[in-house]
């Protein structure tokens, strides 16, 4: 009960490093799962086309990384530009907004997505910066807040209006 009360009290405040790291981990797991499943799908396709001479697809490791980063970039971009929530954010109850609390526009969301994809370690800077703002947040004038109120994993009918 105490934890729940804490959680509801935190609604709208800037999220700490632990929460954001966990959200990022969930997102990384999600993206790399998709990459892995894509490889598996490729293998199955190859098996269906030529079952007798089946070998596992020989994809260079760099391609995996490239695919993962590209996927991550577009995923983050679309997520932040629309609802401000990735899958990890939904699970951990955070949201990326501008400093005055509005939804990010496409350009800012894209820039932030590129920055985070290229330099993910920068996330940890929020542990020491004032206002828990990471190195990505400061130049783009964004912040990450606790956003528990929509306590569902799926539907968030009016994400922009629902904040405090």
């Amino acid at each position: 009960m105490a934890a729940e009360r804490t959680v509801s009290d935190l609604q709208g405040k800037t999220a700490g490093v632990a929460t954001r790291t966990m959200a990022g981990a969930v997102d990384y797991a999600f993206i790399w799962s998709i990459v892995g499943l894509s490889y598996l799908g490729l293998a199955i396709l190859g098996f269906l086309i030529n079952p007798r001479r089946f070998t596992w697809p020989d994809v260079p490791i760099g391609w995996f990384l490239l695919a993962g980063f590209v996927l991550m970039f577009f995923y983050l971009w679309l997520s932040w530009a629309t609802r401000g929530k990735t899958f990890g954010s939904m699970v951990l109850g955070t949201r990326v907004v501008s400093l005055d609390g509005d939804r990010l526009d496409f350009i800012r969301a894209g820039l932030r997505a590129g920055f985070v994809t290229v330099f993910p370690i920068g996330l940890f800077t929020c542990a020491i910066t004032p206002g828990s703002r990471s190195i990505h947040d400061i130049p783009l004038a964004t912040k990450v807040i606790y956003h528990y109120k929509v306590d569902q994993l799926s539907d968030d009918p009016n994400p922009v209006q629902e904040r405090e």
Binding site: A3, E4, T6, V7, L10, G12, K13, T14, A15, G16, V17, A18, T19, M22, V91, L92, G93, A127, I128, P130, G131, S132, I145, Y146, Y148, D151, Q152, L153
Partner: protein, 256 residues
């Protein structure tokens, strides 16, 4: 008494005389029979006499006339007699019954004992046996047309009512006597029957309908979301605590 004796004596005398004369008379008759017959025929129809004047013709004519008269007389007499009887019989019967006291008489004679005795004397089985022999029964039955009889006496409405009255208790008692389950088990190929039923059923269609009705996705969503929500809440609370701990470690308060 006196006159009676005299009549008796006269009758006896006549009988004695007749008995005495009878043998002689018989002999005389035998001898004289043939000539007498011939003579009589000659007298009745003498030769050379026209037919209409013969004794026989005349006698016939008189006889016929007399017969007509007699019959007429008799008819009239019978009519008269019947009239008299019509008058007399009721009166006489009434008088006789009154005299006899018929009711009392019957009451005295026809008692339970006498009737019982009378009935006891009758060997009823024997009587029935005499009357109802196979031959008589056959004869009676051969005269019957069952279809015609049925049509004539069995009104459909009556039959319907009878059936409605008699059938339920009859069926109930019959069913009580029967072990239907056992009969079915012995005589019915249940496997084939159930196969037929299964063939008739669109099991796939029914299953699909049921699944459509159940709305499985919503059930799964509800049942899993409860668990998921608990896990998520716990994770969020832990993460928020960690945030606070780290922030305090770095010596600053979280700002909004």
């Amino acid at each position: 008494m006196e006159s009676m004796n005299r009549v008796q004596r006269a009758a006896d005398l006549a009988l004695g005389a007749a008995l005495t004369a009878a043998p002689t008379a018989g002999r005389v008759a035998k001898v004289a029979f043939a000539p007498a017959v011939i003579t009589w025929r000659l007298v009745r129809r003498p030769p050379l006499v026209p037919e209409q004047f013969t004794l026989a013709t005349i006698a016939d004519r008189w006889e016929a006339r007399g017969r007509v008269a007699r019959e007429l007389q008799i008819d009239q007499g019978i009519d008269k007699t019947i009239e008299v009887f019509d008058l007399l019989v009721p009166a006489l019967t009434t008088a006789a019954v009154d005299r006899i006291g018929l009711v009392d008489l019957i009451g005295r004679v026809v008692t339970t004992e006498t009737v019982d005795a009378a009935i006891a004397q009758i060997d009823i089985p024997a009587v029935i046996g005499q009357v109802l022999t196979p031959a008589t029964i056959d004869a009676a039955l051969s005269g019957l047309d069952p279809v015609a009889l049925t049509e004539r006496y069995l009104d459909p409405v009556v039959v319907e009512k009878l059936v409605a009255l008699a059938l339920p208790p009859l069926l109930t008692s019959v069913l009580e006597q029967l072990d239907l389950t056992e009969i079915v088990r012995q005589n019915v190929d249940l496997l084939a029957l159930s196969n037929d039923v299964v063939e008739q059923l669109d099991l796939a269609g029914i299953t699909n309908e049921v699944i459509d009705e159940i709305d499985l996705p919503s059930i799964i969503r509800e049942s899993t979301s409860g668990v998921a929500t608990e896990v998520v809440r716990g994770t969020r609370a832990s993460a928020a605590s960690a945030d606070e701990a780290i922030a305090s470690f770095f010596g600053r308060k979280q700002r909004d």
